[in-house]
């Protein structure tokens, strides 16, 4: 029975994908995508309730006992990631009703989108390292398809860089899995957590840990491995950009958090020191790169990189408070980032471009959109009392607690520079008059389009406000999740059954 709680969030997206593919010629396909994601949100909520009540739950697929079979496991972090994935997927699938052209629907946009969501959920729920590799591939191949769907030259250009760099990371990941299996004889993450500390040759373990760090680092787009991201993320449909921006890099961050709290904890002085440097440099390069850009989506792409740095910082500091900050940041960031890309899409529809030099006057035409932009934008920058403020507050407090003055200073300065980029978008796109002298009009959007574009944006903004005004339950939750990460006994017991040795 427990297995079904874990398997449903995986089965639903694939079922939706098959149905959406079969019905892709009519209007039914897109509504199936929306319905499927409503169901996914329900399944995720049930899973979350279960995990809140019972603690870590695990299910063995096909009744093969761990560590031999494939295990699905959910602790608080996995569960919250699945919930947030479902929320983002639902918002984007509603947005896609007005954003994705018919031609792309006929080519199977909705099927690819739901396979992507299935892959993301799988990566969050699996308890097996090779299975994680397989979910990464599911995600990769569907994201390749989504990225080049439409076939504009820029998309092909960005696609080449995205595909090649991600394939390298995949191969590194696979080699790491092979070597780790050779040393331990197991691929089950919980079993690895037991076996790896007992190995004689800890030096080799650290070496493999660095291989994983690079492989997941490419996925998470950290310095100096992020170049594929700003090359590709501004080229596809806005729906695709939004879901990529919200979810894909976060799977890399999640995998890093999982492996470097559960398995590779033997030499934290070495590995987490590297991560701390990586975090600081990721934050800085990302935000400085954004300052140099002049296109809404390019600015936002560089900000993904810079924000990833905060999450890595939480992992690198490796204290209960810092990890809680990282979990909180993950949740807050996915909502805010996906939302900003969605707003960018509407701005392009109304004003005709995302190039800041060629648009303007959006505040006058669409004041509601302007307000809905300000909420996630200021949340990203960390204005109180929005969600980003609490996320940054917890992380900086954690840094000061262990007297990491330098990293705390970097985090604060990057927050300031983020405001610079956000005010740039505000001033150029919303405030200044349109450079052509004409006011953009809402007339280009039909009432139906307007509804399906604005609802997801408004809902995600409302969620940001809720987290901002009532942060306490979320912080408490993040602290509990961090507690589970730092003391994986419950996780190991749930997966392997019986007390861990």
């Amino acid at each position: 029975m427990i297995s079904w709680y874990l398997a449903t969030p995986l089965v639903l997206p694939f079922l939706t994908a098959v149905l959406a593919f079969l019905l892709r010629w009519g209007r039914a396909g897109r509504w199936i995508s929306v319905a499927g994601n409503v169901a996914l949100l329900g399944a995720a909520a049930i899973l979350m309730a279960r995990v809140l009540e019972d603690g870590v739950i695990a299910g063995q697929m096909g009744q093969w006992a761990a560590p031999f079979g494939i295990t699905l496991a959910a602790d608080l972090l996995s569960a919250v990631m699945v919930v947030i994935t479902a929320i983002t997927a639902l918002a984007v699938s509603v947005y896609a009703l007005a954003d994705v052209p018919k031609r792309a629907e006929h080519l199977g946009y909705h099927a690819l989108f739901n396979v992507l969501i299935g892959g993301v959920c799988g990566a969050f729920l699996t308890g097996d390292l090779f299975n994680l590799y397989v979910w990464f591939e599911v995600m990769l191949i569907s994201s390749f398809g989504l990225l080049v769907l439409g076939g504009r030259p820029e998309q092909i250009d960005g696609g080449v860089k995205y595909v090649t760099l991600n394939l390298i990371s995949t191969i590194l990941f696979l080699s790491g899995v092979g070597l780790l299996y050779g040393m331990t004889g197991t691929l089950n993450m919980a079993d690895l957590a037991v076996t790896v500390p007992q190995l004689e040759n800890q030096g080799l373990v650290t070496l493999i840990a660095v291989m994983f760090m690079i492989a997941f680092g490419v996925k998470a787009a950290v310095f100096p491995l992020f170049f594929w991201l700003p090359a590709a993320y501004h080229t596809p449909f806005f729906s695709v950009s939004a879901v990529f921006a919200g979810l894909l890099t976060k799977v890399g961050v999640y995998s890093l958090m999982r492996m470097f709290t559960l398995v590779f904890t033997g030499d934290t002085g070495f590995t987490h020191e590297i991560l701390l440097w990586v975090a600081a440099l990721t934050m800085l390069t990302g935000v400085l790169g954004a300052a140099a850009q002049n296109d809404i989506r390019k600015i936002l792409s560089f900000h993904i990189v810079s924000q990833i740095g905060y999450m890595i910082m939480g992992l690198a500091l490796y204290t209960p408070l810092a990890l809680a900050g990282a979990v909180f940041y993950l949740v807050h960031h996915i909502i805010v980032k996906a939302n900003l890309f969605l707003v960018g899409g509407v701005a392009e529809r109304i004003a005709g471009s995302t190039d800041l030099g060629r648009i303007g006057g959006l505040y006058k035409t669409a004041p509601l959109l302007a307000v809905l932009f300000l909420i996630p934008a200021f949340s990203l920058a960390g204005f109180p009392p929005l969600s980003g403020f609490w996320a940054k507050y917890v992380l900086v407090a954690a840094a000061i607690e262990i007297e990491g003055w330098a990293i705390a200073a970097v985090a604060l300065v990057v927050g300031l520079l983020t405001i610079y980029s956000m005010t740039k978008i505000w001033a150029e796109a919303f405030w200044k008059p349109h450079p052509d002298g004409t006011d953009p009009t809402l007339a280009s959007l039909s009432a139906h389009d307007r509804r399906s574009l604005i609802w997801p944006i408004a809902s995600l903004a409302a969620l940001t406000l809720v987290i901002g005004f009532f942060p306490e339950p979320f912080v408490t939750f993040a602290e509990r999740a961090a507690g589970q990460l730092l003391d994986p006994t419950a996780y190991i017991e749930a997966v392997l059954g019986g007390p861990a040795t």
Binding site: P153, I156, V160, I168, S175, Y181
Partner: protein, 121 residues
């Protein structure tokens, strides 16, 4: 057997890194295909090598009597080969499409998505 395979893997990785450093993306893809085979061989080698011992359990026993080949890494390698096949088929088609739309195979000239400042103006 292990030293021989280790050497093979080393040569494969060296060759593929050389290929991947090329600016021609087609050579890059060939390098990627080679290095993925090196990764597959790594899994195969790391998972215990035996000679002429298929993983079969004799009749009447619950476990094999002697040390037999490890079937798991072979299953992993098979999975990885299948996945890799799909990915590389996609990558090759993408490169072909890139050549026909962008008119070049050189990564230096692929600047449509990120135009140079000095040339854009």
């Amino acid at each position: 057997m292990e030293p021989l395979l280790a050497l093979t893997i080393g040569v494969l990785v060296a060759t593929s890194v050389y290929l991947m450093l090329a600016r021609n993306v087609l050579r890059f893809i060939f390098g990627l295909i080679l290095i993925s085979n090196a990764a597959n061989l790594t899994i195969f080698t790391a998972g215990r090598l035996t000679e002429g011992q298929p993983p079969l359990v004799p009749e009447g026993l619950d476990a094999p009597a002697v040390v037999v080949a490890n079937a798991l890494p072979q299953a992993l390698v098979l999975t990885a080969i299948v996945i890799g096949f799909g990915l590389f088929a996609f990558a090759l088609v993408l490169m072909f499409r890139a050549y026909s739309t962008l008119g070049t195979l050189y990564s230096e000239d692929m600047r449509l998505a990120e135009p140079r400042e000095d040339r854009a103006s």
